[in-house]
Symmetry: C2
Subunit: 225 residues, 2 copies
């Protein structure tokens, strides 16, 4: 079973080069080409390739938008190819946009030909592959978002909040008013105010809005569920 590939790039020379390189592989067929995103989407709809090699920067419709359309097809379109993004420079925003859109890979055009070929095979197999510099960024991003479990626990950052204070802070970060917090914890509203006052003082915050920010930034609460 051969891997059907189309190549979308505004430079004819690049298309020709990649086409020649890939077509020389017995397990890869180049079944189409296009010079911009719009035509790329059309060609893909007709030729339903397994893999779309997509340049990022193109006239008419850039590779990111084209990738989005291919990966989130309108009702009625069943075909959903794997998309392998290509770029000359490696620019953060492009990478993240592409990955968000569901691209299966991101390579720099200066990668060794062998890498491109194996990338096509990897992507066709349903796996994913990134340029090493991109991988590094993605990992860094991942690690930054979820820092390693601090050995002293998250409480360390919360500079000596008592359990009750932490509890109150969390309810603030859920958007409750003082009165609602009081009801929720079965307390007098005044008690809640005392707790909040201490929380703000200990953390050096001005108001509950800043407390909410702190709760998110410190990981006490996290976005999305």
């Amino acid at each position: 079973m051969t891997i059907k590939v189309i190549i979308v790039d505004d430079q004819a020379m690049v298309r020709a080069g990649f086409a020649a390189l890939l077509a020389a592989q017995s397990d890869i067929d180049v079944v189409g080409e296009a010079p911009d995103g719009r035509e790329g989407v059309e060609v893909s709809r007709r030729a339903h390739p397994d893999v779309v090699l997509m340049d990022v920067r193109m006239p008419e419709m850039d590779g990111l938008e084209a990738a989005r359309q291919l990966l989130d097809p309108p009702r009625g379109v069943i075909h959903r190819p794997k998309v392998l993004m290509l770029t000359t420079f490696d620019v953060d925003d492009y990478v993240y946009e592409a990955l968000r859109a569901g691209a299966s890979g991101f390579l720099l055009k200066d990668a060794p030909p062998a890498d491109l070929i194996s990338a096509v095979r990897v992507v066709a197999a349903g796996e994913a592959l990134l340029a090493p510099s991109v991988t590094r960024r993605l990992i860094a991003d991942f690690a930054r978002q979820r820092p390693a479990p601090r050995r002293d626990g998250p409480s360390a950052r919360r500079s000596g909040l008592t359990p009750r204070e932490t509890e109150v802070l969390e309810l603030i970060a859920r958007g409750l008013s003082n009165q609602e917090i009081a009801e929720s914890l079965v307390l007098a509203e005044q008690t809640v105010k005392t707790h909040i006052g201490r929380v703000l003082a200990k953390l050096g915050l001005r108001d509950r809005a800043q407390a909410v920010i702190f709760a998110y930034e410190s990981g006490l609460v996290t976005p999305g569920q």
Copy 2:
């Protein structure tokens, strides 16, 4: 300049195989081996390799803990090698733990020898590299956490906020008071209050604390930097 590598794996056979494979490269020197995490850390401290090949599952101290110790060294230890994790099976938890700890790569032991060699070079160069199946998971995770901007834009979620209102909302989410927002945007405080009033009304929120929550939950602002 050769790349100094140590190999940490509890199976002598595996160590021997990898050592032979890598030592055959003119630009790679194997400067040490260890059968478990604890000894691996010791050997690394003495031999200060550029790259540590680290098995995940080992007696005494597993590869994850060893990686953590190498990548977050105690005061006084300056050397900080790159860590390339190896595993026989690819298990999610291991991968995420390792990446959180700051590992530069994650390969399956059944990868082609050429991949291992190039992985060592990539990692030594400060870049990163993952097994394709791992890459796929990381991307999926990434895309899931930050879903692609719907084609009608993130503003759709913000239910028709005007650009100015969005701007004000963002400053609220940075913890600024009305007066500070006014100064920041060169406006009268009353104007700021009008904008905020509209934001709260359009989004169905009660106060600025809830506005901060919304800003985080909608992705207008994100934790961490």
